[in-house]
Symmetry: C2
Subunit: 345 residues, 2 copies
Amino acid sequence: MEKEVTIYDLAKTLNISVATISRALKDDPVVSKKTKKKILDLAETMGYRSNHFARNLRNQKTNMIGVIIPRVNSYFMSTVIAGIEKVTNEAGYHLIISQSSESCQKEIESVKTMFHNRVDGLLVSLAYDTQDTSHFDLFARKQIPFLFFDRVSNDNRYTNVLIDNRRAAYEATAYLIAQGCKRIVHITANSSSNVYIDRLAGYKQALEAHHIPFRPAYIIRNNLTQEAGTEAAQSIRQMQTLPDAVFVANDNCAVGCLLALKKEGIRVPQDIAIAGFNNDPVSTVVEPNLTTVNYPGYEMGVVAARNLIGHLNGMSDIDTTNTILLKAELIIRASSQKASFQKKG
Amino acid sequence: MEKEVTIYDLAKTLNISVATISRALKDDPVVSKKTKKKILDLAETMGYRSNHFARNLRNQKTNMIGVIIPRVNSYFMSTVIAGIEKVTNEAGYHLIISQSSESCQKEIESVKTMFHNRVDGLLVSLAYDTQDTSHFDLFARKQIPFLFFDRVSNDNRYTNVLIDNRRAAYEATAYLIAQGCKRIVHITANSSSNVYIDRLAGYKQALEAHHIPFRPAYIIRNNLTQEAGTEAAQSIRQMQTLPDAVFVANDNCAVGCLLALKKEGIRVPQDIAIAGFNNDPVSTVVEPNLTTVNYPGYEMGVVAARNLIGHLNGMSDIDTTNTILLKAELIIRASSQKASFQKKG
DNA sequence: TTGTAGGCGTTATCAT
DNA sequence: ATGATAACGCCTACAA
């Protein structure tokens, strides 16, 4: 490895002090244009690059934002990251991304690593099985800003960016009811995350509002993959009386379920109407197209990142805002149009 | 922000020199057990955390690996990142991810940023319009290892991780021909990237091998989105003689095309057989399921990251290996089974 | 407009 | 077994 070029090397070559070099590199207006140009040109030709560590050591800032998420490889999450990346990059921050793989233990590890790497802030979506969020006390104690998105903490000291899951689920369920459905199955995750609890709550609330008794037997819990949806279809088919609708907590699982039901000769939506959640690309590929809730992933990433950076710049107080709700509207497509068979979207 | 605890604080409190503190924290056997225990206990209670910057400043290493990709929010890319993240994390490295948004200009910016942030190595998938890769000279000159994956450089000094696109395309096309197709349209990107050039080459080669004349009119170029696929279907429908097969360079576009053709009353695969590329989740959702080439994204990420880390550890020489080809086999599904109408997977 | 010098927290090299 | 001290490269009062 070649020896690194430092500002001292530049200074010596040009016979200028390191202070001026340093200022020129930061585009400090106090340095004359001529000198600045000379310096920048030399830096270029000598292949100079600033030393992050030395800089951070001085500045007590890393310009890094940590992101801890269950997995990167889902459509939703990669969309969120795209949004985060755009905002943070524009603000001159970099991202360190770490996957918890849905394990609370790995999440705790990640938090520690982020802490020791001195990220300036943290954006988190919790693992399936994370109940207690005390591992974030490390950050809270040092007043390092962090916030949760999508899968959030129920500790109300913290800021959360999310959608109104309860309400969206209410609307989806209410729509199914309006289509004449009365025996509505709900497929959800076996998780204590707010996301699924709230969707379940919205589902129940819609039933109640329309005087339909809630039946525990209509709740199916699995891991919400497409395969799990296929299996869920079997359970549904074997119920005493065939349900007339299924509201699934995500699109992948909904699609698996829909395809499996069709294979069994059950017509969608005539026999069973289906609604999903997320507006994943698959929802417009499956036939009939899937009614779903549009989940604004990119926007969520943008909002979460903006908020965090706002705190970092002292623009806003992390304790002021507590919850940021994004809009998530129901998208009605053919899979749930039981009342009339007009097709849309 | 609370004041950070440093080894000086520990030293002062215990009336011991910082040197001993430093050694104890690294579990240096030269420090007596008693002193070590005292020090570690105090560090714990005072909430000491080591300063990575100061350490890295000494050690001249960042433990960061840069990743530059066109976009994070595609199924393929997020899968690759998951693979990269796993390997790098296990090896104690962190990731800085930057999107070029398919723009060569932004890619150049990213390269500079990565350079200045002193990543220990770089993993790159090139933008659509990147032809010249001289902006990586910055890294080459300093002997900082980097390699390309998927969308690679044609500069043969560099290491590339990719699949044999030509061969995979050959196999897909040959399969269509074996199904009796003779008028095969190819939809590809308007890009100079190896990925699309090679797939086109494989397509041509298969035609040639089976004595089917290549017809430029059968090449449709677009941006390979699902919408573009829908439009492509229109062009196809309006051709003098209806083609009997379409080989699309990715699944999203293939799916858009397939759905649009079906809407026009064209039967798939009876009238037109279709094959895609990537084995994206949508390929098993669309009906009929899409014949496609399995693109091992996760594995590609793992291999690329392993290789890079190997170089970083001096395990392997970056100049030795030049091209790593991963297997990418054809997955035959219903959308192309024109010869017999048996359905699979 | 430019220069000087001290310090950010660690570790390695001496010396004790 | 422990201590003193000089780097690592950068930034910023303060001085000129």
